[in-house]
């Protein structure tokens, strides 16, 4: 591994090249800043493009952003900050038109208007879409606009350290994976937009790269992280975790158990298949656990699209058909799709305000890596792309406007990080990270899945701490400089173990059920004690320090339950 001396500077740096990162880069560039993006993959490989169903905005005459806001807050199990949700929903229509102007080929109605489909937990047809590959079209379109502006992209640069400025600009240390070099970059403003961490569970709809690197970076740098116990579990994944969009249910697909019953009748008679994700996911798991699922592969239920007909499936859900055939082995035109819940979204993240600022001057966060918090304990479908765009753009404007006084730091952090990585490479490579990763995934599924309880979570926390100790002793077989895949995996594992610890540390003391945090031993919402955000930060001795922060309540009074 080569150490590059000196510090490269820009006006602003963005870690992560998904939707939030690129939206921010475009806005920052347009505000006149010399902005650069760093990503551990090429931007087009980012996970944003896996988003299928769509992006919400109240743009119909019969809709109002305040209704969108109410649905979002209710769906969040009252945990979302109401000021942050106001920003999200009020700026949503403008975000849609901005995306359309960038070139996103949104699906249109026969009248030529933007088409909108119904999504879970919402009272209007509010979700704009581009067939069932909305994220793909958004990501590719924004990348085109990044290219158009000639914005610098450090591709395949894995950021391994974030350094808050102490009397100087904040900086970061990046490992150039192809060249095997470590270098430091600094800017008056750094945005963390690295996405989620669903891979800590293994069974997940997330891309294999969603390892929570940015959240771990921020936590290690002493920044507060928020609500990390809330991992959304999507109701309908293929048996290998790959997502089948909620748009399928939005188009009318049924969930059916082994007895042929549309079982959602028993759980959410009004909303049926379009109840919020946490409720649908628990319903499916309950059916499986109580013996009404299909046997085999750990149990599953059917998602039946057949009554929609081939024409509608081909027009509205073409990718779903392709995915079901290629990865599930069934053609949804002819057979129901075997599905079960899959870990989908990280509601928690780096604590920010509505300007995407973190506690640390010059450090910002946006998108899934951040917690502003607009999703609270449960995100509504169609709100994640929206958050990435709305808060990505806000972050972009703010990093461009960040004060340029101060100066770059020394390159001491790069030397330090180079020493650390060289040390990892020098470790004995006979013990490998893969076994630890597999154990971590199993612990997370067992202890921090759809149904949680004190004993399981306590055991889970102990297991995670034990795995962290073991991880410090594993090594890599590959000692080379060029594209060291082995080292890449080990660094990701380090991040995931930090995230797993955060989840455990936040979940155990939360003695209630709220959104996706559902406890068998505390089945009710407890607004008196826990209408609060969990805040975690790294203490000086490396300990996990826990505190709570009030939820911002404006006009919508939290209720004792979330009923649909």
């Amino acid at each position: 591994m080569k150490l590059c001396e000196g510090v490269t500077t820009h006006d602003a740096l963005i870690i992560g090249s998904g939707l939030a990162g690129m939206a921010a880069a475009i806005e920052a560039h347009d505000a006149g800043a010399d902005v650069a993006i760093l990503s551990k993959v090429h931007p087009l490989r980012s996970h944003s493009q896996a988003a299928q169903g769509g992006i919400n905005a109240a743009i119909r005459p019969d809709d109002d952003w305040r209704d969108h806001r109410f649905d979002t807050i209710k769906g969040s199990a009252w945990l979302a900050d109401q000021d942050a949700v106001s920003v999200l929903c009020r700026e949503a229509p403008d975000a849609i038109w901005w995306l359309a102007a960038c070139g996103v080929p949104f699906t249109r109605t026969p009248d030529g208007l933007l088409a909108q489909r119904p999504f879970g937990g919402q009272r209007r047809h509010r979700t704009c879409y581009a067939a069932d590959k909305t994220g793909h079209d958004l990501l590719h379109t924004l990348y085109e606009q990044v290219q158009r502006r000639g914005i610098a992209v450090y591709e395949e640069h894995f950021v391994t350290r974030l350094v808050p400025g102490e009397g100087s600009w904040p900086s970061l240390v990046a490992w150039d994976v192809c060249r095997g070099e470590v270098r430091q970059l600094a800017a008056p403003a750094i945005l963390v937009a690295t996405g989620g961490a669903g891979r800590v569970y293994g069974q997940s709809s997330n891309a294999l790269i969603n390892t929570g690197d940015g959240v771990a970076l921020a936590w290690r740098a002493g920044l507060p992280v928020e609500d990390m116990e809330f991992f959304q579990i999507h109701p309908t994944g293929l048996l290998n975790g790959i997502l089948i969009t909620e748009g399928a249910r939005g188009e009318g697909a049924w969930l059916v158990n082994a007895n042929g019953e549309r079982f959602m009748e028993r759980y959410a008679p009004k909303f049926m298949e379009l109840a919020p994700r946490d409720q649908v996911a628990r319903a499916i798991q309950t059916e499986i656990d109580q013996g009404r699922g299909f046997p085999g592969s750990g149990g599953y239920v059917h998602l039946d699209l057949r009554h929609l007909g081939e024409e509608k499936i081909a027009a509205r859900l073409p990718q779903i058909r392709e995915i079901a055939i290629a990865f599930g082995g069934v053609d949804p035109v002819k057979e129901p799709i075997p599905v079960r819940p899959t870990v989908h979204y990280t509601m928690g993240g780096i604590a920010t305000d509505t300007e995407a600022r973190t506690e640390c001057p010059g450090v910002f966060a946006a998108g899934e890596a951040a917690c502003v918090s607009v999703h609270g304990a449960n995100r509504l479908g169609g709100n994640s792309l929206l958050e990435a765009v709305v808060y990505g753009r806000r972050a972009g404007r703010n990093i461009a406007a960040a004060a340029r006084d101060g100066r770059p730091p020394s390159d001491a952090a790069a030397a330090d990080e180079h020493r650390r990585i060289t040390g990892i490479l020098a470790r004995d490579g006979t013990r490998r990270p893969a076994a630890i990763r597999a154990e971590m995934e199993a612990v997370m599924r067992r202890s921090f899945g759809l149904f949680r309880s004190k004993d399981l979570m306590r055991q889970g926390l102990q297991d995670i701490l034990r795995l962290r100790e073991r991880a410090a002793t594993v090594g890599v077989q590959d000692k080379g400089r060029t594209f060291n895949h082995d080292l890449f995996l080990l660094l990701q594992l380090e991040a995931m173990l930090d995230v797993a610890w955060m989840c455990a540390a936040g979940a155990l003391p939360r003695q209630e059920s709220r959104g996706c945090h559902y406890r068998n031993d505390f089945e009710r919402l407890d607004n008196e004690r826990f209408l609060k955000h969990t805040i975690l930060r790294r203490g000086p001795d490396g300990a996990m320090e826990l505190s709570y922060k009030d939820v911002t309540i404006e006009d919508i009074r939290p209720q004792a339950e979330v009923k649909y």
Partner: protein
Amino acid sequence: MPTATLRIRRLNPDASPQPYWQDFQVEWGQGDAVLAALHAIQESQDGSLAYRYSCRGAICGSCAMRINGQAALACKTQLARLDTTKPIVLEPLLNSPVIKDLVVDQGPFFASLCSVMPWLDPGGRDPREPYTLDGLMGRNDRDQFQRSTDCIMCQSCFSDCPKRGQAPRFIGPAACLAAFKRIHHPQTPDATERLRQVCGPGGIFDCDRHANCVKVCPKDCRPMRAIVFLQRQAKEAGVAPE
């Protein structure tokens, strides 16, 4: 469990500039893709094996490689659909320098893409104005436009295009497809100018119609069809070369 042999073309530039072949045996089950077999090798046999991946669901375009002599996505290629009585031959994509093992330099591919300026410039139709694709273009163009938006930039067609191999000035199928998308976008302000621009040397008229791009595309984007449509359109618009 059945076993398969993966015969992988390897290159470790840190050790030697010479590529070599190496065989690995892996156990596999129903539903396992080539990508899963690569993970199994990397985890338990050779940690230095390098390859790219991200979504493992055929949407991110990372894991294209040559599988039994043809570009394909490792995540989408099921072992059950290959003849596992013979070694499965894995090689890096063609028409790009190899960085390590199955990882190639994506620079030439993205440079070709950038050369057609695939982005939408401002000044065209206001997206707030109602429009339908059907109202703006014929059925074939609409179908091809939608296919052009499906491209995941996996570089498979660029790899397996014989013309690109013979004459690197040719921008390749994916860039032509991106040009089609750009030219047919309902909000494009300057379609004819963009069309003229891809008619020059290295552009759409360099295509020799081998049709490998249509065959290898994992998303059925049919780049050569887009090229044929653009060529016809260029002639009609009078911007085709003599």
